[in-house]
Symmetry: C2
Subunit: 308 residues, 2 copies
């Protein structure tokens, strides 16, 4: 059963008022809420990732979602499910890694249970104080598409780990094991923008985020591949695949947004494309090696199940 | 590694501002937050529990925590981790069971991931509107101890299931598979009480809750066993164990509280004992078959790991 089928089934039972964005915006309370789980052997393998790195990444993936909503992350609840034989050292290192991400976020509780495999499910609550909260359905024609940083590094880092590389200072490997949520990028936009806009993180890849925004907003997104930035070692390490890694590699936790051009310029953001009225497709990527690419579904997109 | 050791390790890294109660009270936002996970083969077995019942129980265990804080449950986030081969029907029935518990609570989102075993991690956010929020550290000498209903049924129901009984209308089995959170009981107290008080649910058993309140409040709780109510079939089904089931059986999701006597009487609550200044022990249960029982640690308490 695929995630999309599961979502359809859920919508059919409970409706879809809140389903759509990675964060739920509870407007009457001024809250944004996200919950993300990391499961051993699905999202991470113990052999690649230390407890510290797991704690760090578990924090960052949730902070990334709140940042991409435009909210300010504030309160974190942490549910850990752990095999009986887990050591005190594992728990200590996990929380040390998690603590590293907090920057004033308070851990307010959670749950501890047993399980066969390690599982982390974190809920993060943010507030909308003086911020304009985004929605992926809010892209408007005429807005430009901006991104917060390099794409494709994390998936490339995972490939290197799978090939046996263990150089934790390698920027590709580091970006897979210890991604950094783009808090300032999100915040910079949400506190300065005066109109509705789309914003989300690239947890499932750049193409996935572009497509989801285009579809939810019913717009066409035209992207200039030559404007997308990526780590220079991506091309040297993966000369035949780097374009695919940049578009389809997941877990970079960069943020993309659609904003008015004047704002992108005044904030000095990296513009990679433009929002246009819906044409016959959702996303077009121009200036690739073989010309251009149309993305009209998610068939090629990043799938955690297949990655590890 | 035991849950207590894990908690100590966590406290040593992140401090303990919020650790203690099942719900975190974020006073500046007027919120109470809880997160509870149910893991296949730890908290439930597929052979005993239908997807509908699992959804129902997953909702209720979290609603119970918010109710026992005195808050009003409002917004729910649902993280599901599911094996690849799970059916649409499973997801549909799970959400139907969950929906049954909502009574106005809104599902605001969550996460879906893969996993080897089924895992549900729900975060529930409540509000403190016109309510006095409880803490297990707030029991005061002179207050009486009240409970919301029958104890021991759920653990007895699990025993019947393990013996092969499948009569889902049996009140013991029903209370294990489909426990009902005591929303009105909690709310009735939190909106009428004018002083600090302790309240928590009996998810890990009555003795566990009594001991935790006594210890966190540094008080002695004297309980009259003959005042504790229980299903009449408990004694006939388990003549040799019913006292143990009543005290140590978990997952009844009743609520116990320490409140002023006048309030207990005006609300017509079942009084089972009294809070006294700390003596040489934490909890004494009087009027048992063999006289009385002192509970001064949690060694005999309910352990999910050992139950299933």
């Amino acid at each position: 059963m695929k995630e999309d089928d599961i979502l359809l089934t859920i919508k059919s039972v409970i409706g879809e008022k809140y389903i759509g964005d990675d964060c739920a915006y509870i407007k009457e309370l001024g809250l944004v809420v996200t919950q993300d789980s990391l499961v051993e052997d699905i999202h991470f393998l113990k052999k690649y990732m230390s407890p510290y790195q797991l704690g760090y990444k578990s924090g960052m993936v949730n902070i990334s979602d709140i940042s991409a909503s435009g909210g300010i992350p504030k309160y974190m609840s942490v549910a850990l499910s752990l095999p009986k034989d887990i050591s005190t050292e594992f728990v200590r290192e996990f929380y040390q890694g998690l603590s590293e991400t907090l920057n004033g976020i308070e851990i307010i509780g959670g749950d501890i249970t047993g399980s066969d495999k390690i599982m982390v499910s974190i809920t993060l609550i943010g507030i909308d104080k003086d911020r304009h909260i985004s929605s992926r359905a809010n892209a408007k024609s005429g807005q430009v598409i901006v991104t917060s940083g390099v794409h494709g590094s994390s998936a490339a880092g995972l490939k290197l780990l799978m090939k046996g590389k263990r150089d934790y200072e390698n920027p590709l490997i580091k970006s897979h094991l210890m991604p950094v949520a783009q808090i300032k990028f999100g915040s910079n936009i949400s506190k300065n923008i005066n109109e509705d806009y789309a914003m989300m993180d690239t947890s499932d890849g750049l193409a996935d985020a572009l497509f989801k925004i285009a579809k939810a907003s019913n717009k066409t997104l035209i992207v200039d591949f030559s404007k997308i930035i990526y780590d220079k070692t991506l091309k040297t390490n993966f000369p035949d695949e780097y374009e695919n890694l940049i578009l389809y590699g997941g877990e970079d936790y960069q943020i993309i947004a659609t904003v008015p051009e004047y704002l992108a310029k005044s904030l000095n953001l990296n513009i990679i494309g433009k929002v246009e009225p819906k044409s016959e497709y959702f996303v077009k990527i121009k200036n690739m090696l073989n010309g251009e690419k149309i993305i009209d579904n998610l068939n090629n997109c990043y799938n955690h199940f297949e990655t590890v």
